[in-house]
């Protein structure tokens, strides 16, 4: 009989002490990030989708169309094309498309890029209704940013 009442007492005690913990929390400041009102800042190494890097002075792309990123990508989401232009050493970038629907943000492309022509963007607010919205023309984006 004594065991029975002890069990009830211990049970109620455990519940009350548990409630005590939650009660204490009630008077503590909110820890949740108030997202739409307060936008989080992304850390330096945050891996968003890739973006072409412009030269600091001219704003032109650093890409030399070596195709290493295209080769390194596990999902085949990068398409690079270039052409020979007279008077310019090497190839000139004509197309840099990223199919972001397939990208898994692993960053192998950025690692493989010798001239440092691509980097991660800090974009995390991406939403769209159509697949086509995620096939990015990175060359165009770079030119738009230059302006």
């Amino acid at each position: 009989m004594g065991g029975y009442f002890k069990e009830i007492f211990d049970g109620v005690h455990s519940l009350v002490t548990g409630m005590g913990v939650t009660l204490k929390y009630l008077f503590q400041p909110v820890v949740t990030e108030q997202y739409p009102y307060v936008a989080p800042t992304m850390p330096d190494r945050f891996r968003g989708h890739i973006e072409l890097v412009g030269d600091e002075e001219t704003g032109a792309t650093k890409c030399i169309v070596c195709g290493m990123c295209q080769k390194a990508c596990p999902s085949g989401c990068i398409t690079v094309a270039g052409e020979k232009v007279e008077g310019v050493k090497g190839k000139v970038l004509t197309k840099y498309d990223l199919d972001f629907t397939k990208c898994s943000l692993c960053g192998i492309c950025v690692e493989s890029c010798k001239p440092g022509a691509i980097t991660f963007s800090k974009e995390y607010n991406l939403a769209g209704l159509r697949k086509e919205a995620y096939i990015y023309d990175l060359k165009k984006r770079l030119e738009e940013r230059k302006r």
Binding site: S14, G18, G20, V21, T22, V31, R45, P74, L105, G107
Partner: protein
């Protein structure tokens, strides 16, 4: 299974739990033949999120397969990174600098803590307690923020490379990690007051879903489930890899074999992981985080290789077969929960649905890792 359900003289019926059921934590379906509220037979139906990672491995280079490791066990992705990197390093004979191994251990253990915290929150949610989830996520968020600063992603990490790491950690990370160890240590008693000592939890977990050591052996059960059944088996201790032998930590073992024992093992493991993280921060050597002589295109010599690591859910093994080229010939991924779940049919016989949920939750299932 169907025979039993078709028998008109037995008043049994089939109940589908899942594939969309909050307590199966993903797309697992369990076909249950019920007799009233009691389970007569249980049969897990897998494959709803099967992606054939093993075939993917045969179609890309060794390095390109690394991002896949974050997609198997998305809650403990760094252990999987570690297992795969270590397996390829063993095959190709790449030595990893000590600093890199220390950082690997540090991040893997932080990842383990975050996985256990999430498990605790989600498990208690299954059992009907909502509050602990919010507290656990508060702590877990700190880990995610720390790892995000270092690795660049919050969940599907792809941080380790053959021969080292993607990039080094900085002093801010070390300071934050140190602060986190102190913080979580001070909060663990709170969890025990709020949850562990709770009478409802004890009533629902004690004596539920008992697994004995022999059953573990027959089914190949590893990880916290085996340790909750009195088996002192931890790959970090039994088959030491990386720099784990340099750290002083205990392997929590409980002999009861019930859901409560598995709960206690994981809670104690958080403490032990904190100890490892603390020691790794204090003893972090200087030096490079990438081996010098790593070939640009890794081509392990012909043969097959095995490497196991202790992931948050048990022993994760990679069996590689290389034919000396830049793509794997065969890649077997041995995932711990696959074996751990296979005993469900035996344990769930004759228990109520509510107890089956309490048992399944205590296995810590992550479905993408089972289905691969």
């Amino acid at each position: 299974m169907s025979e039993m359900a078709c028998d008109k003289h037995k008043e049994t019926f089939v109940l589908n739990m899942g594939p969309q059921h909050p307590a199966t934590h993903g797309v697992l379906r369990v076909k249950l033949v019920m007799d009233g509220e009691y389970i007569v037979e249980a049969e897990p139906v897998l494959g709803y999120i099967h992606r054939m990672h093993e075939k993917m491995g045969e179609n890309r280079t060794w390095a390109q397969f690394m991002p896949n490791m974050g997609r198997l066990d998305y809650l403990g992705a760094l252990s999987y990174n570690h297992g795969y990197a270590a397996a390829v390093e063993r095959a190709a004979g790449i030595a990893v600098p000590e600093r890199a191994e220390y950082i690997r251990v540090m991040t893997v253990e932080l990842n383990r803590i975050s996985s256990h915290l999430l498990w605790m929150g989600a498990y208690l949610l299954d059992l009907g307690g909502f509050t602990p989830l919010l507290y656990a996520f508060d702590d877990r968020e700190k880990i995610l923020d720390m790892l995000e600063r270092v690795t660049g992603s919050r969940l599907t990490y792809c941080y380790f490379r053959f021969g080292g790491l993607y990039n080094d950690v900085d002093d801010q990370f070390l300071a934050e990690a140190k602060g986190f160890v102190a913080r979580l240590r001070s909060r663990l008693p709170m969890y025990h007051t709020l949850v562990t000592k709770n009478v409802i939890l004890m009533q629902r977990l004690k004596g539920i879903g008992v697994i004995d050591a022999d059953m573990c052996r027959r089914y190949g059960v590893t990880g916290p489930v085996a340790r909750g059944s009195g088996l002192n088996y931890d790959v970090r201790k039994n088959e030491p890899y990386s720099v784990y032998p340099q750290f002083d930590f205990d392997v929590p073992v409980y002999t009861e074999g019930d859901s409560m024992a598995r709960y206690m093992v994981r809670m104690d493991e958080i403490e032990q992981s904190l100890r490892i993280v603390e020691q790794a921060i204090d003893g972090l050597p200087d030096g490079p985080v990438m081996a010098e002589k790593v070939p640009k295109i890794v081509k392990p010599p012909k043969g097959d290789y095995y490497h196991a690591v202790e992931a948050a859910r048990g022993s994760f093994g990679v069996r590689l077969v290389s034919n000396g080229t830049n793509t794997p010939y065969r890649m077997k991924l041995r995932s711990p929960t696959y074996s751990n779940l296979s005993l469900l049919a035996e344990v769930a016989k004759g228990v109520t649905v509510a107890d089956a949920v309490a048992f399944m939750g205590s296995l810590d299932l992550v479905i993408p890792e089972i289905d691969r």
